[in-house]
């Protein structure tokens, strides 16, 4: 019973911001300035959504965000999966040293690399390209640790048996290892999607054409906050939340499994 109550309390804490964002997306300007604060709009103002969606570049910004987040999620997952496999099952010269340097990157704050990354990306002529937006996030040491831990916890017997049968690395990874760790792989993909979708400063820095802007910059450009027009701001935020909600709902059983498996690793 206590467990249930705790779970309900936790669910309310997690869901409340979503609910309140939805509610505030229908607030009139006056609803924001009442004291005490309102939970529900006095009368739903659907025009907030009209204003948000009718902004000339809203669709373009949303497309850019969804596209770059998907691209980054797929590419990062592939890179992390391949490297985790290599470090977990293969033997090669300098393995420990390479792993050490890769893991070291987890301890370097991304912000401190901002300027140097910009210089590199600029010299690669990737300013104003989708690849420029995602390139610095194509590898994550934390996710490498996550997946390596999962792979190393698997019995090595099936790997050795497959090897004896003459299976190649790609076959072993795709047919045996990846299916056994798919919950973690999917979680990594989800994490990558969310972190790329939410990034603000880096995409702002490497793009200077309106057509290449992502929705996070778009929200700031629309300037609803400075103008005190908070209704359209929350309507935009709620629309942005939709892909995440869909993603979490459709992948929730994998996430739960990944969390459960994670406890046993």
């Amino acid at each position: 019973m206590l467990k249930k109550l705790f779970a309900i309390a936790l669910a309310i804490i997690v869901v409340f911001p979503l609910f309140y964002t939805a509610s505030m997306s229908l607030f009139s300007p006056r609803d924001f300035n009442t004291s005490p604060a309102l939970f529900f709009p006095t009368s739903p103002l659907w025009q907030n959504y009209e204003k948000a969606v009718n902004h000339s570049s809203f669709l373009r910004y949303t497309f850019n965000s969804v596209f770059t987040a998907t691209l980054a999620a797929v590419m990062r997952t592939v890179i992390v999966t391949l490297s985790s496999y290599a470090f977990s099952f293969l033997s090669f010269k300098g393995k420990k040293a390479i792993l050490f340097f890769l893991l070291l990157s987890a301890f370097i704050p991304q912000d401190s690399l901002l300027y140097q990354n910009y210089v590199t990306v600029s010299r690669m002529n990737l300013i104003n390209t989708y690849l420029g937006i995602i390139i610095t996030g194509l590898f994550s040491a934390t996710q490498l640790i996550m997946l390596m831990t999962a792979m190393k916890s698997l019995s090595r017997d099936s790997y050795d048996a497959a090897r004896v049968d003459g299976a190649r690395d790609m076959t072993i990874l795709c047919s045996i290892i990846a299916p056994l760790t798919k919950s973690i792989i999917l979680t990594i993909m989800l994490q990558s999607f969310i972190s790329t979708f939410n990034s603000y400063l880096w995409p702002l820095l490497v793009t200077n054409e309106n057509a290449m802007r992502t929705i996070q910059i778009g929200v700031s450009l629309m300037g609803y906050q400075e103008s005190g027009r908070l209704g359209p701001l929350f309507a935009t935020l709620f629309i942005i939340l939709v892909p995440f909600v869909i993603l979490v709902i459709t992948t929730r059983k994998f996430i739960i499994k990944a969390l459960a498996d994670g406890l046993s690793y």
């Binding site: 300035n33 200077n208 450009l221 300037g223 400075e226 103008s227």
Partner: protein, 423 residues
Amino acid sequence: MRKVVLIMLLLVIPTLLFSAGAKEEDVTTVTIWHSNSGILEDAFMSLVEQFNESHDNIRINAVYQGKANDVLTSVNAASLAGSGLPDIAQLDATAGLDMMYAPYLVTVEELGVDTSELIESAYAAYDSKRGHIGVPFNASSLLFYYNADLFEEAGVEVPKTLDDFISSAPIIHEKTGVYAFSGVPTTYELITFLGSQNGGTYLTDNRNGHDGVSTKVLFDENGTFRNFLEKWKALYDTGALNNLTSGVSNAFYAEQCASMLASSSNLTTVLENTDGLFNVGVAYVPMVDSDATGGVNIGGGCLAAFSNTEEVREVLEFMISASSQAYWAESTGYMPVNRNTVESPEWQAFIKENPLYSVALEQALSSSEKVLGLWIPSAYQVYYSFQSTIASVLEGEMSIDEAVSSMADMINTNLMEYARQNG
């Protein structure tokens, strides 16, 4: 796995298709990185459109580059990369120090911009030992916003000094049941509160950093910070001051406080948000005491040039022209920086209909040129440190002496560190 590789390839190929646009022949593009969003963006883009329509050989490419500090970050990144700098960037006072030493900056004098119509104090805000780092464009100053209905209900006058406010704030609080004031001062307010004392005082040496990197703060030895903190603490001790560090405007709109300090550029937004709720008044910022006659500094932003071309000069002259400034000021609430705008019949008619829009300009024009924006390193950290230090004093966690020395030490250390790193 092959499928995954194929999907990746399909995803990557289009990413490489987007790169720099084509160049039209005989038309020179002048790129401006700006920080205007919302209604400011609408007004700015209208100006850009007006320029583009009236010029066959020059086209402005206006790019929103985030807030003022984001524009500076982007400019610094592009300068390090050695390419990608815009021709013009809209920057605020926090960029002053960087720009003064930026080898890629073209000063207003080097560019030969005609500044004869500019209001002197607005132009002086961007004066450095190297020349003017930019032309003022979106000029603003600190204003005292008050709920005229609540002040009337309490039967008190708008305070001219903090001493006045210490007397009237408890009356407002008692008679209306709301806080007399909400907010905790940051660097922005302190430039006025400290800089206005004794007829005009600098916060740091080298003219607040405009004549070269400051080497030390002055507000500790000249007693201005102490003087301010004593008055501000006395105001807080009346119980009528609410220490809000965010959401101040919303508290004002919701009539949870009777007054606030904010930039004059917020006037249009404040009027829109309070329309039909209560009458808003704006007034000069209350000074620390009757000797504090320096007034306010002109803040906001300037347009800094990074290309020394005729076209860039032409764009800048257009942006500060009387008609552009009239349009900009009327659409946004910023102060016009062109003398001819102020004297024009159109502006006079606008002011007659919207008298609140004249207060900031009158206040700025009657202020001392010594009350200048602060050009110091780590400006954003200092901004929030001032706020947290003042809050600590009010809440009894720190004595006034400790607060003065703590802020002085922090900024002096930053200045020393900056000098060490930059030779």
